[in-house]
Protein backbone atom coordinates (compact mmCIF):
# COMPACT_ATOMS: atom_id res chain seq x y z
CA UNK A 1 0.00 0.00 0.00
CA UNK A 2 1.18 3.52 -0.68
CA UNK A 3 -0.52 4.82 2.41
CA UNK A 4 1.72 6.56 4.91
CA UNK A 5 1.59 5.53 8.53
CA UNK A 6 0.88 7.84 11.42
CA UNK A 7 1.27 7.27 15.07
CA UNK A 8 -0.22 7.34 17.47
CA UNK A 9 -3.61 6.44 16.01
CA UNK A 10 -5.23 8.33 18.87
CA UNK A 11 -3.93 10.79 21.42
CA UNK A 12 -5.70 12.31 24.41
CA UNK A 13 -4.17 15.23 26.31
CA UNK A 14 -5.17 18.06 28.62
CA UNK A 15 -5.54 21.64 27.47
CA UNK A 16 -2.23 23.46 27.65
CA UNK A 17 -0.15 20.35 27.00
CA UNK A 18 1.82 19.75 23.81
CA UNK A 19 0.75 17.15 21.26
CA UNK A 20 3.18 15.33 18.99
CA UNK A 21 2.16 13.22 16.01
CA UNK A 22 4.46 11.27 13.74
CA UNK A 23 4.22 10.32 10.10
CA UNK A 24 6.28 7.82 8.13
CA UNK A 25 6.15 7.45 4.38
CA UNK A 26 7.58 5.11 1.79
CA UNK A 27 8.71 6.92 -1.35
CA UNK A 28 10.85 9.95 -2.11
CA UNK A 29 8.94 13.19 -1.85
CA UNK A 30 8.90 16.75 -3.09
CA UNK A 31 7.12 18.02 0.00
CA UNK A 32 5.05 16.86 2.96
CA UNK A 33 1.92 18.56 4.23
CA UNK A 34 -0.24 18.34 7.33
CA UNK A 35 -4.01 18.68 7.22
CA UNK A 36 -6.61 18.88 9.97
CA UNK A 37 -10.08 17.34 9.76
CA UNK A 38 -12.71 18.30 12.29
CA UNK A 39 -15.43 15.74 12.85
CA UNK A 40 -17.82 15.65 9.89
CA UNK A 41 -15.91 18.29 7.97
CA UNK A 42 -13.44 18.55 5.10
CA UNK A 43 -9.68 18.74 5.43
CA UNK A 44 -7.95 22.03 6.08
CA UNK A 45 -4.35 22.62 5.08
CA UNK A 46 -2.10 23.50 8.02
CA UNK A 47 1.50 23.59 6.88
CA UNK A 48 3.81 22.42 4.09
CA UNK A 49 7.47 21.50 4.43
CA UNK A 50 9.67 20.93 1.39
CA UNK A 51 12.12 18.06 1.05
CA UNK A 52 15.10 20.40 1.45
CA UNK A 53 13.76 21.83 4.73
CA UNK A 54 14.24 20.25 8.14
CA UNK A 55 11.93 22.32 10.32
CA UNK A 56 9.14 24.78 9.86
CA UNK A 57 6.96 26.82 12.22
CA UNK A 58 3.54 28.34 11.89
CA UNK A 59 1.97 29.82 15.01
CA UNK A 60 1.66 26.98 17.55
CA UNK A 61 2.64 24.38 14.95
CA UNK A 62 6.12 23.01 14.46
CA UNK A 63 6.88 20.48 11.75
CA UNK A 64 10.09 18.53 11.28
CA UNK A 65 11.13 16.42 8.34
CA UNK A 66 13.81 13.74 8.20
CA UNK A 67 14.09 12.52 4.64
CA UNK A 68 16.77 9.96 5.54
CA UNK A 69 14.28 8.26 7.86
CA UNK A 70 11.29 9.12 5.67
CA UNK A 71 9.49 10.60 8.64
CA UNK A 72 7.92 13.82 9.85
CA UNK A 73 6.47 15.05 13.08
CA UNK A 74 3.86 17.65 13.91
CA UNK A 75 4.02 19.37 17.27
CA UNK A 76 1.11 21.45 18.52
CA UNK A 77 2.12 23.53 21.52
CA UNK A 78 -0.17 24.81 24.26
CA UNK A 79 -3.09 22.80 22.91
CA UNK A 80 -6.67 24.02 23.12
CA UNK A 81 -9.97 22.17 23.12
CA UNK A 82 -10.54 23.57 19.61
CA UNK A 83 -7.50 21.60 18.40
CA UNK A 84 -9.54 18.40 18.83
CA UNK A 85 -9.58 16.85 15.34
CA UNK A 86 -7.95 14.24 13.14
CA UNK A 87 -4.57 15.17 11.72
CA UNK A 88 -3.27 13.74 8.45
CA UNK A 89 0.08 13.96 6.78
CA UNK A 90 0.17 13.94 2.99
CA UNK A 91 3.16 13.51 0.71
CA UNK A 92 3.62 14.96 -2.74
CA UNK A 93 6.09 13.28 -5.01
CA UNK A 94 6.27 16.07 -7.52
CA UNK A 95 5.95 15.07 -11.13
CA UNK A 96 3.10 15.75 -13.46
CA UNK A 97 0.05 14.85 -11.41
CA UNK A 98 -0.13 16.99 -8.20
CA UNK A 99 -0.99 13.71 -6.48
CA UNK A 100 -1.12 13.61 -2.66
CA UNK A 101 -0.80 10.39 -0.69
CA UNK A 102 -2.38 10.64 2.74
CA UNK A 103 -1.36 8.97 5.96
CA UNK A 104 -3.70 7.02 8.19
CA UNK A 105 -4.35 9.94 10.53
CA UNK A 106 -4.05 10.68 14.25
CA UNK A 107 -7.17 11.45 16.24
CA UNK A 108 -6.32 14.12 18.81
CA UNK A 109 -8.64 14.80 21.73
CA UNK A 110 -7.84 17.81 23.90
CA UNK A 111 -9.68 17.71 27.21
CA UNK A 112 -10.67 21.09 28.67
Amino acid sequence: SQQGEEDPQALSIQEGENATMNCSYKTSINNLQWYRQNSGRGLVHLILIRSNEREKHSGRLRVTLDTSKKSSSLLITASRAADTASYFCATAGGGATNKLIFGTGTLLAVQP
Binding site: Q3, N30, N31, Q33, Y35, G40, R41, G42, L43, V44, H45, L48, S86, F88, A92, A96, T97, N98, K99, L100, I101, F102, T104, G105
Partner: protein, 112 residues
Protein backbone atom coordinates in the same frame (compact mmCIF):
# COMPACT_ATOMS: atom_id res chain seq x y z
CA UNK B 1 -18.53 32.74 -0.15
CA UNK B 2 -17.79 29.04 0.24
CA UNK B 3 -14.55 28.11 -1.51
CA UNK B 4 -15.22 24.47 -2.42
CA UNK B 5 -18.79 23.30 -2.17
CA UNK B 6 -20.37 19.90 -2.65
CA UNK B 7 -23.95 18.76 -3.01
CA UNK B 8 -25.58 16.89 -1.51
CA UNK B 9 -24.05 16.67 1.97
CA UNK B 10 -25.78 13.37 2.66
CA UNK B 11 -26.96 10.76 0.19
CA UNK B 12 -28.79 7.59 1.17
CA UNK B 13 -29.76 5.22 -1.59
CA UNK B 14 -30.45 1.61 -2.48
CA UNK B 15 -28.01 -0.82 -4.06
CA UNK B 16 -28.17 -0.75 -7.83
CA UNK B 17 -29.20 2.90 -8.11
CA UNK B 18 -27.31 5.59 -10.02
CA UNK B 19 -26.40 8.83 -8.25
CA UNK B 20 -24.39 11.99 -8.80
CA UNK B 21 -22.41 14.27 -6.52
CA UNK B 22 -21.63 17.80 -7.60
CA UNK B 23 -18.62 19.94 -6.77
CA UNK B 24 -17.92 23.59 -7.46
CA UNK B 25 -14.99 25.82 -6.53
CA UNK B 26 -14.78 29.60 -6.72
CA UNK B 27 -11.06 29.88 -6.02
CA UNK B 28 -10.04 30.26 -9.65
CA UNK B 29 -8.19 26.94 -9.50
CA UNK B 30 -7.58 24.86 -12.61
CA UNK B 31 -7.23 21.43 -11.01
CA UNK B 32 -9.89 19.47 -9.17
CA UNK B 33 -9.91 16.12 -7.40
CA UNK B 34 -12.19 13.47 -5.98
CA UNK B 35 -11.15 11.53 -2.88
CA UNK B 36 -12.84 8.65 -1.06
CA UNK B 37 -12.60 8.36 2.72
CA UNK B 38 -13.64 4.99 4.08
CA UNK B 39 -14.95 4.05 7.50
CA UNK B 40 -11.39 3.79 8.85
CA UNK B 41 -10.72 7.33 7.68
CA UNK B 42 -8.30 6.22 4.94
CA UNK B 43 -8.33 8.97 2.34
CA UNK B 44 -7.50 7.96 -1.21
CA UNK B 45 -7.36 9.88 -4.46
CA UNK B 46 -9.80 8.70 -7.11
CA UNK B 47 -9.59 11.20 -9.94
CA UNK B 48 -7.94 14.45 -10.85
CA UNK B 49 -8.80 16.88 -13.64
CA UNK B 50 -6.72 19.75 -14.92
CA UNK B 51 -8.42 22.23 -17.23
CA UNK B 52 -11.22 19.71 -17.81
CA UNK B 53 -8.76 16.95 -18.78
CA UNK B 54 -8.39 13.73 -16.80
CA UNK B 55 -4.96 13.55 -15.18
CA UNK B 56 -5.30 10.88 -12.49
CA UNK B 57 -7.51 7.80 -12.56
CA UNK B 58 -6.58 5.54 -9.68
CA UNK B 59 -7.97 2.22 -10.91
CA UNK B 60 -11.45 3.18 -9.88
CA UNK B 61 -14.24 0.88 -11.16
CA UNK B 62 -15.87 1.92 -14.41
CA UNK B 63 -19.07 2.54 -12.50
CA UNK B 64 -17.51 5.81 -11.37
CA UNK B 65 -17.43 8.50 -14.03
CA UNK B 66 -16.21 12.01 -13.34
CA UNK B 67 -17.36 14.86 -15.55
CA UNK B 68 -15.81 18.31 -15.69
CA UNK B 69 -17.99 20.75 -17.67
CA UNK B 70 -15.60 23.60 -16.90
CA UNK B 71 -12.62 24.36 -14.66
CA UNK B 72 -14.83 25.31 -11.73
CA UNK B 73 -16.90 22.12 -11.64
CA UNK B 74 -16.14 18.43 -11.23
CA UNK B 75 -19.07 16.09 -10.81
CA UNK B 76 -18.98 12.42 -9.90
CA UNK B 77 -21.54 10.01 -11.29
CA UNK B 78 -21.80 6.52 -9.85
CA UNK B 79 -23.72 3.74 -11.61
CA UNK B 80 -25.08 0.54 -10.07
CA UNK B 81 -24.19 1.49 -6.51
CA UNK B 82 -22.79 -1.24 -4.26
CA UNK B 83 -22.60 -1.56 -0.49
CA UNK B 84 -18.84 -1.01 -0.63
CA UNK B 85 -19.35 2.41 -2.17
CA UNK B 86 -20.55 3.70 1.19
CA UNK B 87 -18.01 6.30 2.25
CA UNK B 88 -17.44 10.03 2.47
CA UNK B 89 -16.45 11.56 -0.86
CA UNK B 90 -14.41 14.75 -0.86
CA UNK B 91 -13.85 17.14 -3.68
CA UNK B 92 -10.72 19.31 -3.64
CA UNK B 93 -9.08 21.89 -5.86
CA UNK B 94 -5.71 23.49 -6.36
CA UNK B 95 -3.65 25.45 -8.82
CA UNK B 96 -1.68 23.20 -11.14
CA UNK B 97 1.89 22.91 -9.87
CA UNK B 98 0.99 23.98 -6.34
CA UNK B 99 0.65 21.19 -3.82
CA UNK B 100 -1.75 22.71 -1.32
CA UNK B 101 -5.26 21.45 -1.91
CA UNK B 102 -8.52 22.95 -0.69
CA UNK B 103 -11.21 20.52 0.32
CA UNK B 104 -14.96 20.61 0.22
CA UNK B 105 -17.08 19.58 3.24
CA UNK B 106 -17.67 16.07 1.93
CA UNK B 107 -20.67 14.01 0.83
CA UNK B 108 -21.57 11.06 3.04
CA UNK B 109 -22.91 8.31 0.78
CA UNK B 110 -24.75 5.42 2.37
CA UNK B 111 -25.79 2.50 0.19
CA UNK B 112 -28.42 0.24 1.71
Amino acid sequence: DTAVSQTPKYLVTQMGNDKSIKCEQNLGHDTMYWYKQDSKKFLKIMFSYNNKELIINETVPNRFSPKSPDKAHLNLHINSLELGDSAVYFCASSLWGEDTQYFGPGTRLTVL
